[in-house]
Amino acid sequence: MFFHIVLERNMQLHPRHFGRNLRENLVSKLVKDVEGTCSGRHGFVVAITGIENVGKGLIRDGTGFVTFPVKYQCVVFRPFKGEILEAAVTMVNKMGFFAETGPVQIFVSNHLIPDDMEFQSGDMPNYTTSDGSVKIQKDSEVRLKIIGTRVDATEIFCIGTIKDDFLGVINDPTTA
């Protein structure tokens, strides 16, 4: 799920950035530092949408660096258990398949794939129904439900299921 929230961060800025463009420098450094990171609490920071407030800078002893407390608005993405997502399949193997939605990797185990879909190995490993009408392979788009998440410091890993109503392939690259 995406959230638009306000976060705060203490930014350290090198003295060489001081000057007219201090704010720009600060913001660009913030963007560089923060976007794409992941925290267990908020999930992935997708984009910074605005700066709320830059606090007073504090010069650090010895280094000359200045610490600014910066409040910024950002869009974060955090997958939740039970959430329905659309994801692109990145890899298929006999254990199941991996799919990604943005930075989040989701594994769908073969136990959580409908029973009528079977694994077909080969050049392009895939899961196919017995009549061949539905096929999950690399680059397919699937709609899945997240049933578990594991949040590390730098990564969120989920397992999902497509063994439920209205879940499964939504866009097949081969037919498109």
Binding site: K81, T90, M91, N93, M95, F98, Q105, F107, S109, H111, L112, I146, I147, G148, T149, R150, D152, F157, I159, T161
Partner: protein, 1050 residues
């Protein structure tokens, strides 16, 4: 159980005694309140306490009065008077143990008992009761009333406690035997005669009365060959005729049963309860020994069990047998378990009958007297031939038992036994559980409280329940056997027991009590029992480490190949070999790994951009084209790239550096200026300070351990390798490097004294210089410190420069001055870090051990054939322009290798060269007294590392180790070694790195390899720590010398 002494007494007398006795017992209760309370809270205890209450007083008296036993039993009317009663009790208990025959005899008196009004419902007590008045006759009716009262008074309390379920542990404890109680002795007797022996002893007891001072005899059905005798002293059992004259007893061995185990003697295992339908058992004997079986039917009367097994039948042999052909009497081969296939059997012309079991109505195939159904063998065996205790079927076994079309059902039935074996405190508060048996089946809840067997659960609220049953608001007590841990797909769990212990992952699927987990590490499915799992947010990888090697380490293997550990199995690793052409995985045992490679190299990608570890690269060619990920290891121009999308080989891809291109900027660019020094510097890091001599020659134990310590990633103390200053103690003011840390003490290698001292950790200030952060990377020493194959490491050392610099000419340029600086103490140490890096003990390890005294190490290296340096040694060194004369000495003097001059004082010819070198080499040790003495040693180290003719060396060439004697030291430092202890063996040329000096032991003949006494022989008359006490042969002087300078003579 036999207890007693005393003659057959007259009945009247008996009665008197009886009264007496009761009075006594009543008193006894008053005195021994606790004994009375606890009495009889279980039948087992009861029996004991019966015994206790009347004996206890005797015991007390015995103890208090300390009267001689004979006297006690012989005299004292009171004592004597009790004898008959005791005798009566004996009968009673014997009857219980033995048979119920007496019961019938007593039958006639039952009504009498009713009259006495002692109708206590407990059978045990009841029996006691009707036995108690046994000796009474009808004519003593008048006393019956009184008797009844007294009896009731006596048993009122005990009967009360009998049904009191709230007996506490403390009360139970009070009943346990103490040191004051009689002891149990285990006596060997003839097999199968246990009962007979007990009865004999009983008879003896009756015959001899109080002479026999044993208190009871116990013969246990389950214990063959032994009986227990209860007595106060061993002598009572042995000498005083208790066991004398009984031919069934072998009194030679009488063992005391420890107090703690006494209760176990009389504990009854409830065996029968365990064996019920569907329990899992294991066969104890025969072809099926150890096989898992499932109980189908139990016949408790005949002690037989019908079990279901996977047959181990060799059909061919069976066919032969049935046809009357001679069967080869080979028993060695046990056929593998396989389901019986009737059609196959028919093909072999085995007669298969199909019969219907009249009782169950099931059809069985009967082949040669064996019954089969659904491929299983149904076998009726004695209860004794199976073991039902602590059976924990493995997953595989259970799976095998799963016949197709029988899914689910089978697994559930197996639950009961699986649960029976689980650990205590299996459930913890907060666990999610599900009821699997009984009325509440499928009720989910959370554990609130655990009490012994019962688990209180708070059920998952359901509206329907709430509506009509208030009970569900509260907790429910459920037997733990009816509960199973409950997990939902998506839970993150940790496996806490079983084969997969330690693994974590997310639950993908729940199949009854079996979970399928997606492992966090391997991204593979694991099947585990729900019981073995706890919910946990922890992410671990299971076992990731064996010895010094950890998952994802780059390791060097035996045959000089290398690879990344991609999986740790029990006792072995899966290693992705460093073969860029194709992914090659091999299973490697711990001992096949030579060392961990933890060196950071830089290589160039396809476009000549430098790649270093952690840079993200994209693979441009080869089978993994298009993959992208951070570089985890670099070695010999081969990259190990980690791509999390790559599921094979734990995400590792092995590629050639030049088939990749770096993506984005190199991560190390930012700090390259500072860092690169250390990076380059770590190629070759001769320490500034020549290490103390004790370090080289051979990896002495202390050093070795420190080396290991450093090698391991875990438990790595940040202090190790740092430079510290000693603040207190005898070495106050000294500076040195921390070599090792053991608890509170720290081993510090002093900079100025070339020795390692142990100081208290509190006595050091460790902020003198912070060691380089990349210290960890320069653990080159690893290999060399592995005592097994130490010699090889230097080889790699050479290889490194050979490969790398070749590609990158800059390196040389950069490296040389760098090294110079490191070498040259006078050069400005501008980036202090790398100097420290150089000085870092970790990196010392590289050259230390094998190339004694690192400054010389290069000198030694240079001429080593096959080394990459060999081509440009002169250039290298002279270019270095170091003020160190020793280098020049090498350049100029073609043969500085003293060992070539086998005679005793090799120093002399070239000492001129060395001495000037010394100050250069010793910049770090200004003003130490010991320096001068030491320097010749260092100098001596300059030529081939100390090897001298005549000394004994361990040669490890081509993997094996042989002892040899150096016959001649050649110019290039290698030695001519005669293998074997006498000169008869082959003579081979051995590189110094391939051999090590045999450390002498006490009273060995030795040769001094260094110092002013180099070449002198002597005898090691003692060892003091790292110093050896040597008596010189010529002068008979006694010298104390560093052990490493001593070599053993044959």
């Amino acid at each position: 159980m036999a207890r007693g002494r005393g003659e057959e007494d007259d009945d009247i007398e008996d009665e008197e005694y009886e009264d007496d006795d009761q009075l006594l017992v009543d008193e006894d209760y008053d005195e021994d309140e606790d004994v009375g309370r606890g009495r009889g809270s279980s039948s087992k205890k009861r029996r004991r306490s019966d015994f206790i209450d009347d004996v206890a007083e005797e015991d007390d008296e015995e103890d208090e009065d300390d009267v001689d036993d004979d006297e006690l039993y012989g005299g004292g009317g009171k004592k004597h008077s009790k004898a008959p009663r005791v005798g009566a009790q004996f009968f009673d208990l014997e009857a219980q143990v033995d048979s119920d025959e007496e019961e019938e005899e007593d039958e006639g008196e039952d009504d009498f008992i009713v009259e006495t009004g002692a109708d206590l419902p407990d059978e045990d007590v009841g029996r006691r009761m009707h036995r108690r008045p046994l000796p009474l006759r009808e004519d003593e009716q008048e006393d019956v009333e009184a008797l009844e009262r007294s009896i009731q008074a006596r048993y009122a309390r005990s009967s009360h406690t009998e049904y009191d379920e709230e007996t506490t542990d403390v009360e139970q404890q009070a009943l346990l035997p103490s040191v004051r109680d009689p002891k149990l002795w285990m006596v060997k007797c003839a097999i199968g005669r246990e009962r007979e022996t007990a009865v004999c002893l009983m008879q003896k007891c009756i015959d001899k009365g109080s002479e026999l001072q044993i208190r009871s005899v116990i013969a246990l059905d389950q214990l063959k060959n032994y009986i227990y005798i209860e007595a106060d002293k061993e002598a009572h059992v042995r000498e005083l005729q208790a066991v004398k004259g009984l031919r069934t007893i072998f009194a030679a061995k009488i063992m005391l049963v420890p107090i703690r185990e006494m209760t176990d003697v009389l504990s009854v295992e409830s065996k029968a309860a365990d064996l019920s339908r569907d329990t899992w058992v294991r066969m104890k004997i025969g072809t099926y020994k150890g096989d898992l079986a499932q109980v189908v039917d139990v016949d408790n009367v005949r002690q037989r069990v019908t079990v279901k097994l996977i047959p181990r039948i060799d059909l061919q042999a069976l066919a032969n047998k049935l046809e009357g052909r001679e069967v080869a009497k080979k028993k060695a081969f046990v056929p593998p378990p396989r389901f019986m296939n009737v059609d196959e059997a028919r093909e072999l012309h085995i007669c298969v009958e199909r019969r219907r079991n009249s009782i169950t109505g099931d059809y069985f195939e009967n082949i040669g007297g064996m019954l089969f159904k659904d491929g299983f063998l149904y076998k009726t065996v004695s209860m004794k031939s199976i073991s039902a205790h602590n059976i924990k079927p493995t997953f595989d076994e259970l799976e095998k038992f799963q016949t197709p079309g029988n899914n689910g059902e089978g697994e559930m039935v197996g639950l009961s036994t699986l649960f029976a074996n689980r650990k205590k405190n299996h459930f913890l508060k907060g666990d999610a559980v599900i009821v699997v048996k009984g009325d509440l089946k499928n009720l989910k809840g959370w554990v609130e409280k655990v009490e012994e067997e019962n688990v209180h659960i708070r059920p998952e609220m359901k509206l329907s329940y709430l509506a009509f049953n208030d009970v569900f608001q509260k907790t429910l007590a459920v037997n733990e056997k009816e509960l199973c841990k409950y997990f939902e797909p998506g839970n993150h769990v940790k496996v806490v027991s079983g084969t997969k212990e330690g693994a974590t992952g997310m639950v993908v699927k729940v199949e009854q009590h079996v979970l399928i987990i997606l492992s966090d590490t391997t991204k593979e499915h694991i099947r585990v029992f729900a019981d073995d799992v706890v919910e946990s947010s922890e992410v671990t990888t299971g076992v990731t480490k064996i010895g010094d090697f950890e998952l994802h380490d780059l390791v060097l293997l035996d045959n000089n190949s290398f690879g990344v550990i991609i999986r740790v199995e029990s006792e072995a690793f899966q290693v992705l070999k460093g073969v860029p052409e194709r992914p090659e995985v091999s299973l490697v045992k711990l001992r096949e790994i030579k060392c961990k490679l933890d060196k950071k190299f830089n290589v160039q990608d396809k476009y000549r951009n430098p790649i270093s570890v952690k840079d993200v690269v994209r693979i441009l060619e080869g089978h993994c084209k298009g993959k992208q990920g951070p570089v985890e290891h670099i070695y010999r121009g081969v990259l190990f790239v980690y791509d999390r999308h790559h599921l094979e080989h734990a995400g590792f891809i092995c590629v050639k550096a030049d088939s990749c291109c770096i993506v984005g900027g190199s991560r190390s660019n930012g700090n390259r200026n500072g860092d690169s020094f250390s990076r380059f510097g770590s190629f070759k890091t001769p320490p500034r300070v020549p290490p103390s001599p004790r370090r080289f020659a051979r990896g002495g134990p202390p050093f070795d351990s420190s080396g290991r310590h450093r090698g391991g990633r875990g438990g790595h103390d940040a202090l190790i390798g740092t430079t510290v200053k000693i603040r207190q103690g005898p070495f106050k003011g000294y500076r040195g490097r921390v070599v090792d840390i053991k608890g509170q003490s720290v081993r510090v290698e002093l900079e100025s004294q070339m020795k390692v001292v142990t100081v208290d950790r509190n006595f050091i200030s460790d902020n003198v210089v912070i060691s380089t952060p990349t210290r960890d990377t320069s653990r080159y020493g690893m290999g060399s410190e592995t005592p097994m194959h130490p010699s090889r490491t230097p080889l790699h050392l050479y290889m490194t420069p050979m490969r790398d610099p070749g590609a990158t000419p800059i390196h040389d340029g950069m490296r040389t001055p760098m090294r110079d600086r490191a070498w040259n103490p006078y050069a400005p140490m501008s980036p202090p870090r790398d100097n420290w890096e150089e000085g870092n003990p970790a990196s010392w390890g590289t050259s230390l051990q094998y190339q004694p005294g690192s400054p010389p190490s290069r000198a030694y290296e240079a001429p080593t054939p096959g080394s990459g340096w060999a081509s440009t040694p002169g250039g290298n060194y002279s270019e270095a322009g170091t003020p160190r004369d020793s280098n020049l000495a090498y350049a100029n003097a073609p043969s500085p290798y003293m060992p070539s001059t086998p005679s005793g004082q090799p120093m002399t010819p070239s000492s001129g060269f060395y001495i000037p070198g010394t100050p250069g080499g010793q910049p770090m040790t200004p003003g130490t007294g010991g320096l001068d003495i030491m320097s010749p040693v260092i100098g001596a180290g300059n030529e081939g590392p100390w090897f001298m003719p005549d000394i004994l060396v361990n040669v490890h060439k081509s993997g094996d180790e042989t002892l040899g004697i150096i016959q001649e030291v050649l110019q290039d430092g290698s030695c001519k070694v005669g293998l074997g202890l006498n000169d008869s063996g082959d003579t081979i040329i051995v590189m110094p790195s391939e051999m090590e000096i045999v450390p002498p032991r006490k009273s060995d003949k030795i040769k001094i390899m260094g110092g002013s006494l180099r070449g002198v022989t002597g005898k090691l008359i003692g060892v003091d720590g790292t110093d050896g006490i040597v008596r010189i042969d010529d002068s008979l002087d006694v010298k104390i010398l560093d052990l490493v300078m001593l070599a053993k003579l044959p």
